[in-house]
């Protein structure tokens, strides 16, 4: 038994010898690849730690999260920050990009147009009713609207994005 083991071990060692000699190693996996050692850099270089140069590095690093809104006196673009709407029966929250969450979804090659109002908190049914009375005069047919309480969103058949955005900004949302 012992001799058998010895022989098999010997054979194994021989075979490994042979393989290492003839087969080039391909580091295909993480486990069998060697550790990265310090690379010898021949080029001469200077290490600087000057704050006047580092400020340019800081300037071009992207921020991790959306920057906070700095309130201005006057806005020249269409943007208007959300006012104080804390005590309203419903709130249409702004997105993380400080925009009004009203979107247009076009499907069926431009035939079907749905307006989505999202991120609604509070009495969503009241908002649904108010939007209906506001939007109904713009449409010849009865307005088709879906209020989804769980997701806090309202879907309206037709393109009313700009109308709803205007209506919401008028009310400081």
């Amino acid at each position: 038994m012992t001799t058998f083991i010895n022989i098999s071990r010997l054979l194994r060692s021989c075979s490994t010898l042979r393989t290492t000699k003839h087969i080039s190693v391909r580091y295909s996996g993480f486990i069998n690849s060697p550790f990265l050692e310090d690379v010898q850099i021949k080029a001469k270089y200077e290490v600087t730690k000057s704050p006047s140069e580092w400020k340019y590095v800081v300037r071009i690093l992207p921020p991790l999260t959306v920057p906070e809104l700095a309130l201005r006196d006057k806005y020249n673009s269409t943007f208007k920050p959300q006012g104080d709407v804390k005590d309203r029966p419903y709130i249409v929250c702004r997105t993380k990009n400080h925009m009004i969450p009203v979107y247009l979804k076009i499907s069926q090659r431009g035939v079907k147009r749905l307006t989505y109002v999202r991120k609604i908190q509070g009495d969503i049914w009241l908002l649904g009713k108010e939007l209906e009375t506001y939007l109904q005069p713009m449409s010849k047919r009865p307005l088709r609207m879906q209020v989804n309480e769980f997701t806090g969103s309202i879907i309206i058949n037709g393109d009313y994005v700009n109308a709803i955005k205007y209506w919401l900004t008028e009310r400081d949302y």
Binding site: P63, L64, T65, V66, P67, K96, F150, T151
Partner: protein
């Protein structure tokens, strides 16, 4: 059955620990005179009221309420999307699963090279091989081949919202407890078992701390108890939260989890995390 009913009743009653938006602060002060609310200034404020949760202790078997911590409602009072939780659990089970089921095709089954009988003249159906799929002992068409990896990546925000949903559900169902730290006075397993029993936790408990080097006593105490597990905050996942009945978070872990998830929800540039995952990317 009775126990189950009791446990439901327990949840239905306005317990002092879970203070939803409805509970006013006066009741807090009445129930515990020492309670101090730590007001928190959140980086990303929300219109929802912050969740107020008791901070407990682990250094005595009897529960001591040390104060109240305020948690961000976007993380701990988020919409409980059970569908997202299910998708997260399915993903966690599948991404590491490799199917070793294997069948042989007609060319891999041994034999079958010779035409079994002549094409014509016997009155029998024509056949070219006895390993044809029509034959008993023949090959299998489109059978499973080993190994079949089932790896896929769940979209980034499904993963993030799965975590917020699971945390919110745990808090709403009184299964989330916050402790000041996870130091216990002894490394005796009986102590932690007694503590969990007396506080009506568990039986299975997941204890989460900020870093992966845990205090000595609790590590030794729960080492042999298989239903009480320790986990660093970076290992927090939906499957483990659902696998364990109770989730115990240290204060440091809560702050870290809240910070990480808020950063994920308010990322400046989402294009790097929402683009399709490539298996071969480095």
């Amino acid at each position: 059955m009775y126990n189950r009913f009791i446990s439901h009743l327990r949840r239905a009653l306005p317990l002092n620990k879970y203070l939803s938006t409805s509970t006013s602060e006066t009741t807090v002060a009445e129930s515990n005179k020492n309670a101090t609310i730590e007001p928190k200034k959140f980086k990303f404020p929300s219109y929802q009221k912050p969740c107020q949760v008791w901070v407990e202790n682990l250094d005595t078997i009897d529960e001591n309420k040390l104060g109240i911590i305020e948690l961000h409602p976007e993380i701990f009072s988020a919409n409980p999307r059970i569908d997202l939780i299910q998708q997260n659990v399915r993903w966690q089970q599948l991404y590491r699963f490799v199917s070793y089921a294997h069948t042989k095709s007609r060319f891999e089954v041994r034999g079958g090279g010779r035409k079994p009988w002549p094409q014509k003249g016997l009155g029998k159906a024509r056949h070219g091989s006895i390993r044809s799929p029509l034959f008993r002992g023949g090959g299998v068409i489109h059978g499973p081949k080993s190994p079949t990896p089932h790896f896929y990546m769940l979209p980034y925000y499904k993963r993030v919202n799965g975590l917020t949903s699971a945390l919110s559900i745990k808090l709403a169902q009184d299964d989330l407890h916050i402790v000041d730290d996870i130091e216990i006075p002894t490394d005796d397993p009986k102590y932690i078992e007694e503590l969990i029993k007396s506080r009506n936790w568990g039986p299975s408990v997941l204890i989460i701390d900020e870093v992966d080097i845990m205090p000595r006593n609790i590590t030794l105490a729960v080492d042999q108890i298989r239903h009480i597990n320790l986990m660093p905050a970076y290992g927090l996942n939906v499957y483990s939260m659902l696998k364990h009945d109770t989730l115990v978070l240290s204060k440091a872990a809560v702050n870290l989890i809240e910070d990480k998830l808020l950063t994920a929800l308010h990322k400046n540039n989402t294009s790097f995390v929402t683009k399709p995952f490539k298996i071969n990317q480095v």
